[in-house]
């Protein structure tokens, strides 16, 4: 808890220092070609002549009220924009983890149980590939392949949205997003009972999720593998067999249970990391999340936008760190004493 507070405070201080040291608050809102007097007057208005401590206090209290400044381009408060775009990023990251749970974790378990097996080699190959390949480039390759490589995928649920153009953005052009409930389009479409729309939004999620999963999954694979292989070779697993417990029971009751804390830990950290770490993939797939938003801010020298995103991403990361601790605590009786 203390660590959480320290990290958050430090993050905020860095953010503060960056905004002040660059002089952005003034120029950002006025442009450069203004007279001294106006600058002076604005500085007074914005409280820039106050002592630095007072400024910092103001900054923090504003932050605590959710005020991250106003975008100089759109004139919309940064916090509002982020609230609008965060669900897009969150949905992408959720699906990324879902895809990783489909390949990285089962392969990791298998590789931990049978280190010399074919699946272990496949997993290590995929991990090696995933760490070597830049996600944004892989995303581009996928787009290219979808464009130019027939045959098209089958259509399980009615006519599939055309593969031409490939699925960029959260929905195709001309498709109305579902009514906002959670902000996650797939979920909202299901809530609205529109299965075609749900399928459509899911289709748009697949490419970014697969791309991010291939590149962020390797650590999950490797940690799962080593956690499982450590668990299987522990004495209590042999003991469990000796009591006449079956393979399945031992696998679930002892091996997977003991291997899961580090894996869950890393999964949560990966989630937190990808909230801000998926920037490039968002850009490649025109995904309107906070990453694209930050890049947009950067392109327009709209630094409050950039810093807002950076702060939010760091805060989410730190909060997840804390949640992970809680999960570990719940799972491992040794930590409870």
């Amino acid at each position: 808890m203390v660590i959480l507070a320290v990290v958050l405070l430090a993050v905020v201080m860095i953010g503060f220092t960056i905004t002040r040291s660059t002089g952005t608050p003034l120029y950002a809102s006025l442009g450069v070609a203004v007279s001294e007097a106006i600058i002076e007057q604005r500085a007074e208005e914005m409280g820039l002549n106050e002592p630095i401590v007072v400024q910092f206090w103001t900054y923090v209290t504003h932050l605590l009220q959710g005020d991250l400044g106003v975008s100089r381009i759109s004139r919309i408060p940064v916090a509002e924009d982020i609230a609008l775009k965060l669900p897009a990023t969150a949905e992408m990251v959720f699906f990324t983890l879902a895809v990783s749970f489909i390949w990285a974790i089962p392969l990791g378990v298998r590789a931990g149980l049978r280190p010399d097996g074919k699946l272990a080699k496949l997993g290590e190959g995929m991990a090696q590939f995933g760490v070597s390949v830049p996600a944004f480039w892989l995303g581009l390759l996928f787009i290219f392949l979808l464009y130019f490589l027939p045959p098209r995928l089958p259509e399980p649920l009615g006519p599939l949205p055309s593969l031409f153009p490939p699925p960029l953005g959260r929905v195709g052009s001309g498709v109305t997003p579902p009514e906002m409930v959670t902000g996650l389009y797939t979920v909202d479409a299901l809530i609205a009972g529109d299965f075609r729309l749900a399928w459509h939004t899911l289709w748009h999620l697949i490419l970014p999720a697969v791309t991010l999963s291939l590149t962020s999954g390797p650590p999950l694979f490797r940690v799962t593998r080593s956690a499982v292989s450590e668990a299987v070779s522990s004495p209590f697993v042999e003991a469990a067999y000796s009591y006449g417990l079956g393979r399945r029971t031992v696998l679930i009751r002892d091996v997977l249970r003991n291997a899961s804390p580090p894996v869950l830990n890393l999964a949560a950290m990966t989630f937190g990391y990808l909230i801000g770490g998926g920037v490039l993939v968002e850009v490649v797939f025109s995904w309107p999340g906070i990453g694209s938003y930050a890049v947009w801010g950067m392109d327009n020298s709209d630094y409050d936008v950039v810093l807002g995103v950076v702060l939010i991403a760091a805060i989410i990361y730190v909060i997840l760190y804390f949640i992970v601790d809680l999960i570990q605590f719940a799972m491992d009786p040794r930590l409870r004493d």
Partner: protein, 306 residues
């Protein structure tokens, strides 16, 4: 002090080239080949007569031959300006390798010193160091880079040094600083109580003397193991930031900005402008990991999702 015999020197050199497995040796050879290309890239033009591949000026457009697919004249094709992708990919190797190296060396070097210092002093120094590490590592890497560019955006403080490159290098340093700090600290922490350190203290060797003469050599193995991996990681970050237009300005050759230049072409089927620079990133990262015996990815969750 024993003097190393030439025999042993040669043994050490060989160990750099020859890995524990055939696969790793091949990867290392690939790396040295790329390194060689990076070093000689600027002079290739002078020897074009002897080269099996045609080489061009990486910055001179050819308006009569834009977006040419790979041909015998242009092995990797040309981009919208008619620039030869092959030449530019080779030149970019030089840029990416150099920036990665400087960034890692700077951040890593400072990280090593800080880690050793934290391990030596322990107590509150160690506390502060760890908090700094935690703070730095709670930023997703690319966002940290973005924040750096935001922070230095309007400052012209690097004098003659290219602004974008300087901020790139700083960003890489910021990422590597905590990695090395952590690693070195964890290796050295158990050593602070070791006899030889106590002996050195008694002998009146100062704190920095101990750090320099006893700590750094002891952590050398770990540092060397980390180095190629962090360089590979740095290459991905540099390319990633350039991909969103930060750092290296076009038309200067750099893999990430070349991929960006090709991104709009790829949907028209002109794949070569993006694919070749990306393939070189993959090759360089893959070849660099051939130096690390550990197959672990060092860099936290989502390590390389740059």
């Amino acid at each position: 002090m024993t003097v190393l015999s030439p025999q042993r020197e040669r043994g050490r050199m060989a160990r750099v080239f020859v890995g524990p497995t055939v696969g790793m040796t091949i990867r290392r050879a690939l790396f040295f080949f790329m390194l060689f290309l990076a070093v000689v890239a600027p002079w290739l033009d002078d020897f074009s007569a002897w080269l099996p591949f045609p080489i061009y000026d990486p910055l001179r457009p050819d308006p009569f031959n834009p977006v040419s697919p790979p041909t015998a004249e242009h092995w990797f094709g040309t981009d919208t300006l008619g620039l030869d992708v092959f030449t530019r990919v080779l030149m970019a190797t030089r840029v990416d390798f150099t920036l990665a190296l400087i960034g890692v060396a700077l951040g890593g070097g400072l990280g090593c010193l800080a880690g050793a210092w934290a391990a030596y002093r322990r107590g509150w120094v160690d506390m502060v160091a760890l908090r700094i590490v935690e703070v730095l590592q709670s930023f997703p890497v690319l966002l940290l880079g973005l924040a750096m560019f935001a922070a230095f955006g309007s400052l012209e403080i690097f004098g003659p040094v290219d602004h974008g490159m300087a901020v790139l290098v700083l960003s890489i340093s910021m990422v590597n600083f905590p990695l090395y700090l952590r690693q070195v600290r964890s290796v050295l922490l158990p050593l602070t109580e070791a006899e030889f350190v106590q002996a050195a203290k008694c002998a009146g060797l100062g704190a920095w003397g101990i750090v320099w003469h006893h700590f750094i050599p002891n952590a050398r193995g770990q540092i060397l193991a980390l180095f190629p991996l962090t360089c590979a990681y740095a290459i991905q970050i540099i390319a990633g930031l350039s991909f969103i237009g930060l750092g290296i300005e076009p038309p200067n050759p750099e893999w990430g900005s070349m991929i960006k230049a090709g991104a709009t072409l790829i949907v028209q089927g002109h794949w070569w402008v993006s694919v070749f620079p990306g393939a070189f990133i993959v090759l360089s990262v893959y070849s660099l990991t051939g130096f690390s015996a550990r197959s672990e990815t060092l860099v936290g969750p989502g390590g390389t999702s740059a």
